[in-house]
């Protein structure tokens, strides 16, 4: 018997999808924030070391 090809749209499944999306968005947000801080720190370090930007 072939498995049902239609996506599971039940409420528990949709909740799980949203939970995963929220977690991924939060992780991505933290990574982007850390990247901004890193670029700032690199700029300061290069200025202090007298290196070209």
């Amino acid at each position: 018997m072939n498995p049902d090809p239609r996506p599971d749209l039940s409420i528990p499944h949709a909740d799980l999808v949203r939970k995963r999306q929220r977690t991924r968005a939060a992780v991505l947000g933290v990574i982007l924030g850390a990247f901004v801080v890193l670029v700032f720190a690199i700029t300061i370090a290069k200025i202090k070391a007298g290196m070209p930007h």
Binding site: P3, D8, V17, Q21, R24, I42, A45
Partner: protein, 302 residues
């Protein structure tokens, strides 16, 4: 009309832990360690932030190479017990997602390295990703038992890149560090391949113990172990490292060669009987960590 059948798990967005698993964290850990040793062994010390950025880029590049490797090899990973639980064969992630993640991570790491550190370090970083993915994974792994011999160069890049990030140039010592890892890879990988030979055979990967006899594999391991030992003591012999490093490298390398010789005289045919091979595999991990840590400490203190 074509209907694509998805497993229930594949309809879910991948979890962040699946992305992390895609980067091969254990390999990444050893890459970071050897890169850090290469950087610390250099005569020039980078400001902390720039050193951190260089190591971060090397780690991300290793993650990219790991993700692209898993994207390409998901078919054989599904056949092997050791790799069947990875995110792609386990159906936790779409293949396209893994490809996008791997390419994105690789491009990001190379661009950041180029902007923060320099062109040579970024070029070597790009070369290491391309070598691992195109030369080793696509070109060699399924075609030749010499796959890990030539492919070992991919794992040898990190200390070289660490050194170049600090100095902006290549010299003899980082090339010797490259050679040590390059020559260490065959005995290390074949010790594991002897232990999980059947798994590789099931996946159709022509590792040396799959296509040649265990005896041939063991002799080849000894050949590379002797070359590796010579490379390991050469920084001291050439005056690039102190006596402390020389003594530790000579003793630990002699033990490595001795253990490999012990493997050569073994006749064990099943993994359960292969105590010498298992011992050598575990020792080889400790050995490479000890050699690189000693070299970095020796250079920092002299």
């Amino acid at each position: 009309m074509t209907v694509t059948t998805l497993t229930p798990t594949a309809t879910l967005p991948a979890d962040w832990r699946d992305f992390f698993a895609l980067t091969k964290p254990r390999v990444m850990r050893s890459v970071v360690f050897t890169a850090l040793c290469g950087m610390l062994a250099a005569p020039v010390q980078l400001p902390f932030v720039l050193g951190f950025t260089a190591i971060l880029c090397i780690a991300l590049a290793a993650g990219s190479a790991g993700a692209l490797n898993q994207w390409y090899e998901s078919d054989i990973d599904a056949l092997m017990k050791r790799t069947a639980k990875r995110p792609l064969p386990a159906g936790k992630m779409e293949r396209e997602t893994a490809l996008q993640f791997g390419v994105g991570l690789g491009v990001f790491s190379v661009l950041l390295m180029g902007m923060a550190i320099g062109l040579l370090a970024a070029t070597l970083l790009a070369a290491s990703i391309l070598f691992y993915v195109l030369v080793y994974t696509v070109g060699l792994k399924r075609r030749t038992p010499q796959n890990i011999v030539i492919g070992g160069a991919a794992g040898a890049f990190p200390p070289l890149i660490g050194w170049v990030a600090a100095t902006g140039s290549i010299s003899t010592l980082p090339l010797l560090m490259f050679a040590i890892i390059f020559l260490w890879t065959p005995p290390h990988s074949w010790a594991l391949a002897l232990l999980i030979r059947d798994d590789y055979a099931k996946g159709g990967v022509p590792m040396l113990p799959v296509v040649a006899s265990a005896r041939t594999t063991r002799w080849q391991m000894l050949f590379y172990a002797v070359l590796m030992a010579a490379a390991a003591v050469s920084p001291w012999a050439l005056g690039l490292a102190g006596a402390t490093y020389g003594i530790i490298a000579a003793v630990t390398s002699a033990v490595f060669v001795g253990l490999t010789a012990w493997v050569v005289v073994q006749r064990a045919a099943t993994p359960a009987e292969m105590k010498a091979e298992r011992f050598l595999f575990v020792y080889s991990i400790g050995y490479i960590l000890a050699i690189f840590a000693t070299l970095a400490i020796d250079r920092l203190t002299t």
